[in-house]
Amino acid sequence: MSRAARLAIAALRRAAGGLLLLVGATFVIYITIRSAPGDAIDAISPMGTPPDVKARLMEEFGLDRDPFTGYIAWLMRSLFGDFGESLVFSPGAPVMEVVLPAFGRTLLLSASALVACLILAILAALLLGEPSRRQQLLTGPLYVATAAPSFVVAVVFVQFVNWGIKAFLVEGGYVPPSWYPLEMYTESLVPYVFAGLTLIAGDGLFMDFFNSVRADLNALRNAQFIAAVKAKGARTLGHIARNMVMPLLSGYAARLPIVLGGVVIVEYVFTLDGGGYVLLEAARERDFPVVVGLSVLFTATIIAVNLLTDIIRALVDPREVAHGG
C-alpha cells in the first residue's frame, strides 16, 4: 500500500476515534447533569424560572426520559450546534450565538499566548544551551516565581497597573472608576496583551515549556546521528529543525488544555469578554444551557487539537504510520 493511502486510512481511523471520544466526553457531561440531587430541573434552572421555560428545559435536556435516550436526544441536538436558549446571561438568544464569538476570542488568546510562549522558550533554550551551575542560581528563584497560578499573576499585574495609573491620574482629580484600570481600553488590544503575558508567566507555563524544549534540544544536539551529520561536514540545522517539530508540536498540544483552564480565570480578572468570562458569569447566574454549551466547546477543542497533532505527527514521522497507531 502506498504511503499516502496508509496515511489517509490512519487519519480516518484517528478521526473516528476522536468522534468516539467526543461522544464519550459529552456523555460524561450529560451524566453529570443528571446526577444533580433531587429534581434535576430545579438544580439546573435559576431561581424564579417560569414553568413554561422549565418545561422547555426538561425537553431540551431529555430530563423527562431515561438517561440513555435522553442523552441521545440531547446529543443529536448538540451535534448540530443547538444548545438551546440562554436563560439569564442573554435571555432568549440561542446559546451558540452567545457563546461562539466569545469562545473564538478565548481560543485566539490562548493559542497565540502559547505560540508566543513557544517562541520565547525556543529562543531561551538556544541562548542558554546546556544547563550550568551558574544558570541554576538564576533558574532556581525563577522556578518559584513561575509556580504562581495565572490568576495570582493577573492580580499582581492589575495592581501594578493600578498604582501606575493612579500616580498619573490622581493629580488631575480623576479617580479610576473601579479597581480595574483597563476598562478604559476595552476597544484596544492592550488588555489582551496583558492577559497573554499573564498566561505565559502564570501556571509555570513558560518554565515548563522552556525546560522541556531545552531538554529535547540538548538531547538532540548530543544525539549520535547529529554527530554523524557533523562528521560528514553537513549542516546540522535542517536535521535538528526537522527532528524538533514533533516534540514542539506535542508540547504545544499537551499544554493547550492547561492554558484553556488558566484563561478562564485570567479573562475574569481582566474582565475580557471571552469564553471563560462568559462561562463564569453564566455559572454565577445559573444560566445552565450556556455553561453546558461552553463545556462541550472546550472539550471538543481539546479533542480536535489532539486529533490534529496526531495527524501532523503521522505526516512528519515515518515511524508513526508504519506501526499503525
Binding site: G129, A223, A228, K230, A231, K232, H239, N243, A322
Partner: protein, 295 residues
C-alpha cells in the same frame, strides 16, 4: 612518509560525581597515509573518546585537557588542539576550562575539515541515521557535499550506486526506505555508504560491528576488507575484538584504562613475534592466537 595524523600525549578528563576522572591518559600514535590503524581495547578503555577528540566531537566537560593532534592536509599542517592552552586556566591545583569558548573554537576549526578530511561510522548503527529522512536522501546529502556540481538525477543514481557498493540487497528499494525499516546490519551498511560517499581522506570506524549479530558482524568486516581491497584508504578501525582488528589493520595500538599499552604491526601480532605486554598477551591467548613471550 610524514604521517597523515599524529596524536601526542592526548589527555581527556571528565567531571563526575566522584571528582575529575582521567579517561584518556597521554595517548600517542601516528597514522601514515593509506594505512589502516587498529585500536584495540576493552569496554571503557577510552577508544571512543580518543577518536572523538580527533573528530572534535568530545561531548561532556571538561573534555580534552592536553596534548596535540596534527592533521596533514596536503602541505598544510593543522594543529587541532593548538589553541587549547588559551581556554585552560590554572589556579594553584585547580585546572578549569572555558568549555563554551572551546566548543566554538573547535567548530570553527573543524567545519572545513569534517567530511573532506575525515568522517566517521559509529557504533550502534540504529542511532547513526536521521530517523526522519530516507536513507537515499542521506547518502545524497553526502554526495552533494563531495561533488557539488551534480544534478539531482545524477546524485540519485550515484546514491543507488553507493548502496550497491556496500553490498546492499535491493539498493533501489533501500534508497527510498526510512532507517526504522532497515535491520541493524543494513543501517550500518547505509552509514558506511553515507561516510564513503563523502570521499574523506581518513575514515574513522568506531566499533562498527558492536551491537550486531555474529553473522552480520562477519559480513560488515568482510565489507570493509572488500572496500579496502578495492581502494586503499587511510582508516582508523576501532574494536574490542582482536580478530577483527588483526584481519583488517596494518598496525595496532592496544589501550587499557585510558593508556596505550602496546603499539605493534598487525603482522607481528598475528605471527606471535617479539615480546608482548601482559595485557596484549592475554587478549591474544584468549583468542587462541600465538601470544608470544610475555614481558
Amino acid at each position: 612518509m610524514s604521517p597523515l595524523l599524529s596524536v601526542e600525549d592526548l589527555v581527556i578528563e571528565f567531571d563526575t560525581a566522584r571528582g575529575r576522572r582521567r579517561v584518556v591518559d597521554r595517548v600517542s600514535f601516528d597514522l601514515a597515509p593509506g594505512e589502516v590503524l587498529g585500536i584495540l581495547g576493552e569496554s571503557g578503555s577510552g577508544k571512543t573518546m580518543t577518536t572523538m577528540a580527533v573528530l572534535g566531537l568530545v561531548a561532556g566537560e571538561p573534555g580534552v585537557m592536553g596534548g596535540s593532534i596534527t592533521l596533514r592536509d596536503g602541505d598544510d599542517e593543522i594543529g587541532l588542539l593548538s589553541d587549547l592552552e588559551q581556554v585552560i586556566s590554572r589556579k594553584g591545583k585547580r585546572v578549569s576550562k572555558n568549555c563554551r569558548k572551546w566548543r566554538r573554537m573547535v567548530h570553527a576549526r573543524m567545519r572545513p575539515l569534517w567530511g573532506r578530511m575525515m568522517t566517521a561510522v559509529f557504533q550502534n548503527p540504529r542511532h547513526s541515521l536521521d530517523p526522519l529522512m530516507t536513507v537515499g536522501a542521506q547518502v545524497e546529502e553526502s554526495i552533494a557535499l563531495a561533488l557539488p556540481d551534480l544534478t539531482a538525477a545524477q546524485r540519485g543514481e550515484k546514491a543507488v550506486d553507493w548502496l550497491d557498493r556496500v553490498q546492499m540487497n535491493e539498493p533501489g528499494r533501500v534508497h527510498g526506505s526510512y532507517p526504522h525499516e532497515l535491520s541493524g546490519g543494513m543501517c550500518q551498511r547505509a552509514m558506511i555508504a553515507v561516510a564513503l560517499a563523502r570521499r574523506p581522506k581518513l575514515l574513522i570506524a568506531d566499533e562498527p560491528t558492536t551491537g550486531l549479530d555474529t553473522t552480520v558482524r562477519a559480513e560488515i568486516v568482510e565489507l570493509f576488507r572488500a572496500l579496502l581491497e578495492e581502494e586503499r584508504r587511510s582508516m582508523m578501525y576501532i574494536s574490542h575484538d582482536i580478530r577483527e582488528v588483526l584481519y583488517l589493520a596494518d598496525r595496532v595500538i592496544v589501550m587499557k584504562g585510558g593508556r596505550v599499552v602496546e603499539t605493534e604491526t598487525a603482522e607481528n601480532l598475528r605471527l606471535g613475534r617479539g615480546q608482548r605486554a601482559d595485557y596484549t598477551a592475554m587478549l591474544l591467548s584468549a583468542a587462541d592466537l600465538p601470544s608470544g613471550a610475555a614481558a
